[in-house]
């Protein structure tokens, strides 16, 4: 299944809108970074939805790998994923 990394850069008072939307599908790994597996269909929907949510001067980057096995992840400093193991 495709694996995606999503990073958004939006106005401070609008982050909660993006957090709320992305949390439905992906894991929150850093301040403005989400990642996880998505079907192609959900990914296409997400791209359309994210684009429609943006105000001028805001941006979102979506990185897509064919599978999680193509990406290796190194975290330095606080790893929010650690906390999530206990939720």
């Amino acid at each position: 299944m495709p694996y995606v990394i999503v990073v958004y850069d939006v106005q401070a008072n609008r982050t909660s809108k993006f957090l709320k939307y992305l949390r439905r599908y992906l894991t929150h790994v850093q301040n403005s970074v989400f990642e996880g597996e998505l079907t192609e269909g959900t990914l296409e929907e997400m791209k359309t939805t994210l684009e429609s949510m943006l105000d001028p001067s805001e941006s979102v980057m979506v990185y897509r790998m064919a599978s999680e096995k193509y990406v290796e992840r190194f975290v330095f400093g606080e790893d929010p994923m650690d906390d999530q193991q206990f939720l």
Copy 2:
């Protein structure tokens, strides 16, 4: 050559330090996101350096792909890469 995506989450008054360091090796693609090709040696050095630069509560994520061909990139909203074509 390995392809990396680096995302940092640091205190606002310390972003310039990270910008300055990462710009030496990678392309600045969004507020706190860099990407580009790196040799394994430079990647190892970068991981060590980034870790040493962090204050408590700050973090850096490094995603590594074996090559750029394993990642597809979608940008919505303002794409800082567009500007760089004219620099």
